[in-house]
Subunit: 449 residues, 2 copies
């Protein structure tokens, strides 16, 4: 499978220069729409709308180094057990909220308690996480706060349980416990728990408050931020859900100490994604620090989480409901969702499917002449170093991809829009305006006909 | 059962005068919060917040008569088959939408088509309504508009099917039909269809557009307006759902020609409710015109629908998410939901349960000394004339009421807040500040211990 994928890696790319030049020309036109950002300077992110595509260029070098320096300072200032968390703000008007990132944050009850509404809390977690962290979270919610009572519901662990049947267990528990509109739901776990708890909070009594405590890299760098919640349908991932923002996200990096290696790598796929779509310097940093991340160096990990959250928060602030820009966060996900749905939910971890999906998106971008082969190679290299897949499972057929991709949320009026790389590292497009042949060739190169 | 309820009707009311005077004093204080309204003049609706209760007084006489005259004019201007609809605007900023009311509106495709987004439509309806109106609606959606394709899903009819299992059939159909984010859901039916289709639209792909075409009085005067959507849980009504506004509501009064008498009466319970909680003149009009409504006089029916929609739209515009004022629309519903849940969904129609619930709320208001006995009698009289129940089913016990009321959405931090009448006709309070004894007495008077 990998050898099929590699077939074209040394092919020449005749049309590259022209396309690339065209790209730079377009993003620098005076017509570019400059959007509000709470992190970067106004000039550092620009979105050009043209026809059916959204083009994005990465942030300026100066703003990148500023972020980096800020993290170093905060790490250096830690004194003992009560280190101040790094805070990344998600700017959404009256639905804005902070992401707290740091070590030992679950030992700082005031962080969590300031975001609890009412006197009743329902912690939603799973069979893997409950024995590790549920007691700790209950203490964090109730220490010095005797008026608060905490219920919990422990769901089975795995993507295959992210469905309506499992969701109903959350409603059952909430209703049996007689929780009312002033209660708070707390998601304690990875992306599956966060997505299900968030959707349950959105729908219970037509909406109650909730808090995210993500315990996997995947959830800490991606799924807990931005308010996408939902469940899977047998025919496709995340097809039922809501945009619903939490009161806060609390990332205690100590929870990663218990994370299996395979889960760690899965989360890194999303970290790598941010570099590819909008943050070339971050990608370069990852290339240099991939071993530090794999060996869980706390400082490297904290930096990767913060930088990822900043990228995500910035995109979400600009386009909460995914009318354009936000879709770029789904690089590799259309192919990846097809893998997860066809291969069976829970067979591969989400990040593993996304890694293979990113390789396919990069392959297609290259076939279209939109990127040069050095990017293709660098993507392969970093994913291989992270021990992530660079091709889909062997059972996948072209038809499997096509049937799942037809119900993807990014289809509009029958046209499948994809996130593809275009131009130098750190630039991508979200577009339905591409040569169908390139998609067919990519599917054929990576799966059985 | 009715005789138990009547036991106290002739009792004296010692504390009435004092409470009533206190009420008038409070609503006329300069501290009253005046809220924005798109219908009434700024002075015609005032909301005073004090302690745990929300007090509302009815609109001024002048604004009421203005509304009435407007309808007469519009009815008089009808010329042939293409009468302009009466339009009531629901003012919710960028989520504002019109309610079109009139005869023959389904024969005016342009009304519907201007609110259809994208090229794909899913009509959600039921086995009773589909044979009557589905073809007509498909024609209205597609006549002169060949790019639009319409799918439909036909659900079983009845409150007992307003559950997650039935809701999943909507998702199944939408996904199998490969509908995308640019599609439009159309709810064609009564309140159950509107609530389920609305929630499905809110959750499908995290939100798609939808349109309400209510075909019962209940849906036309109440449930299709205001964006409350959801499904029942075995333990309680409407416990899972979303606030999600439609693109428009289209009320073709001709659809009432096929409505069974029992359904008609059920809808009138909500019409009567508006009079009791905020529109005394409308209640007086109903007392005079109840026979015209029961015999489906088109002009009386159109006026009742318009006036009800105006009341609802005004309340929803002021308090979309039910932080206070909107809860007053639930007069009788807390008792009514207990009847529906305990007695079995679908045994009684919603309006029948609400009618019995209103009698209980009125009884409790009287026991508290908040209203005088003439109101109690007038409520009994109008409900009896409408052939609606004035007491719960005989099987109901105090414990049944208590266990369902404990999970009501209006419970906050363990305290059950109720909508009760207070003062002259057309005034109510939403409050948790009442003597428990009165509630216990009402439950005992209307159900078995």
């Amino acid at each position: 499978m990998a050898s099929t994928a590699a077939n074209h890696l040394c092919a020449s790319l005749p049309s590259k220069t022209k396309t690339s030049a065209d790209f730079f020309l377009r993003v620098q036109t005076p017509n570019a729409v400059s959007l509000r950002s709470s992190f970067a300077s106004p000039s550092s992110l620009e979105l050009t709308r043209g026809g059916n595509s959204t083009r994005v260029r990465s942030r300026s070098r100066s703003s990148i180094y500023a972020s980096s320096a800020q993290v170093m300072d905060q790490s250096a200032s830690k004194t003992g057990s009560k280190a101040a968390p790094t805070i990344v703000e998600v700017d959404l008007g009256n639905r804005s909220y902070p992401i707290y990132i740091g070590s030992g944050l679950l030992d700082q009850p005031e962080l969590l308690q300031r975001h609890v509404h009412g006197k009743r809390v329902l912690v939603v977690t799973n069979t893997t996480i409950a024995p590790l962290y549920l007691d700790k979270v209950v203490v964090a919610l109730t220490r010095g706060n005797p008026n608060v009572s905490v219920e919990s519901v422990i769901l089975p662990d795995g993507e295959q349980y992210k469905n309506m049947e499992t969701l109903m267990k959350v409603f059952d528990k909430a209703i049996e416990s007689r929780l009312d509109r002033k209660c708070t739901f707390v998601a304690l776990g990875g992306g599956v728990i966060g997505d299900m708890c968030g959707f349950a909070a959105a729908a219970f009594l037509r909406g109650v408050n909730f808090i995210q405590i993500p315990t996997t890299v995947m959830a800490q760098v991606d799924s807990s931020v931005g308010g996408k919640t939902g469940i899977n349908h047998p025919l496709g991932k995340n097809l039922i859900g809501a945009f619903y923002q939490p009161q806060c996200v609390l990332v205690d990096t100590d929870t990663l100490n218990t994370l299996p290696d395979r889960e760690l790598a899965s989360g890194l796929a999303e970290v790598i994604k941010y570099g590819l779509i909008r943050d070339a310097e971050f990608f370069e940093w990852q290339e240099k620090n991939i071993n530090a991340l794999l060996t869980r160096d706390p400082s490297a990990m904290a930096y990767a989480i913060k930088r990822s959250c900043e990228n995500k928060a910035e995109v979400v602030s600009l386009d909460e409901k995914e009318s354009g820009l936000r879709a770029t966060l789904n690089l590799g996900h259309t192919f990846g969702h097809a893998i997860e749905t066809s291969f069976g939910y829970g067979q591969w971890l989400h990040g593993e499917a996304v890694a293979a999906g990113m390789v396919m998106a990069v392959d297609m971008s290259y076939r279209l002449g939109w990127i040069d082969d050095s990017i293709v190679k660098r993507v392969h290299n970093i994913l291989e170093q992270a021990k992530l897949p660079t091709a889909p499972p062997e059972v996948m057929t072209v038809e499997m991809f096509q049937s799942v991709m037809a119900v993807d949320k990014k289809v509009a009026d029958g046209l499948l829009r994809l996130i593809l790389l275009k131009g130098p590292l750190g630039n991508c497009v979200f577009t339905g305006d591409y040569d169908r042949k390139a998609l067919d060739e990519t599917l054929l190169a990576f799966s059985k006909s």
